[in-house]
Amino acid sequence: MIQVPGELSCKEMVELMNDYLEGRLSPAELSDFERHLVFCNGCAEYLRQLRQLGTAAKRLREEEIPESTRDTLLEAFRKWKRK
């Protein structure tokens, strides 16, 4: 596919997702980012999932996580760090 100057690729969108959610994009970047969301269902869906994850994570308190789930998650994070 031809690369259009000034248009963000999906890869660039993924890299900017957290900055977008945290309001750290410049006005020009923000406009480019949101324009991409108009036509790209994949990026729009990924952003929706990240928002949902953020909302769920804010509600979650450590003591609410069952011990076995916490151990599984910690093990997964340790393995992920080693990769």
């Binding site: 596919m1 031809i2 259009v4 100057p5 406009s31 949101e34 036509f39 790209c40």
Partner: protein, 209 residues
């Protein structure tokens, strides 16, 4: 400045999820401002419309001075004036179809340039998404040059996203198909300009407004 703004159903911003205060009769909606440094209210000029399509289209007033940026204008405040009723289910569907058929014509042009006249005719004579799906499926993919294969793939994408009237996606596909056909990213601008003219014609918006 008078501008335009696409919103999600219920006059909701598609990005922030904030609802805009609607107008009441001839009285505009309340002014909306965004608090925070470097945060702005955005609107479209007629030429920007194809880049932002969504469920509802509104005529808006932006506070002066409104500043042009790439594909939009921004201001400190904005308010809804009236909904453009001509933009609805039918016009969104028709816009998506027109863009899908433009994609088919770009593919047909590539096939024609490669001497594949029957495929070119089949693609350029499509009038519906079903026609396009059938014509694209009938093309044998073996030994197709890369450009034709790519453009044929765009036809399939245009059908896929055209069926749910995802006009934002199909109009993008058509613009990229135009650029791939010419091998020139500048063709995106020309195709978007064509789309803006189509929208202005259909919606009764003056292109220079």
């Amino acid at each position: 400045m008078i501008a335009y703004k696409f919103l999600a159903r219920g006059a909701v911003s598609p990005f922030s999820g904030e609802a805009w205060p609607p107008p009441s009769g001839a009285t505009p909606g309340a002014w909306v401002a965004v608090s925070g440094p470097e945060l702005w209210i955005h609107g479209c000029r007629p030429a920007d419309l194809p880049y932002w399509v969504d469920v509802e289209l509104w005529r808006v007033e932006l506070s002066d001075p409104a500043r042009p940026i790439r594909r939009a204008v921004q201001a400190e405040r904005g308010r809804l004036l009236e909904r453009i009723e001509a933009w609805g289910v039918a016009s969104k569907r028709d816009f998506a179809l027109e863009c899908a058929l433009r994609t088919a014509r770009f593919a047909a042009e590539a096939f024609g340039q490669e001497g594949r006249e029957s495929e070119a005719r089949a693609l350029s004579s499509c009038r519906t998404l079903d026609d396009l799906a059938a014509a694209a499926e009938a093309v044998g993919q073996e030994q197709l040059p890369a450009r034709s294969r790519q453009l044929l793939g765009y036809c399939g994408d245009a059908v896929f996203w055209g069926r749910p009237s995802h006009a934002g996606c199909v109009s993008y596909i058509a613009a990229i198909a135009a650029a791939d056909l010419r091998g020139d990213p500048a063709a995106v601008e020309d195709e978007r300009a064509w789309q803006a003219r189509w929208l202005c014609d259909r919606l009764g918006i003056s292109p220079g407004a």
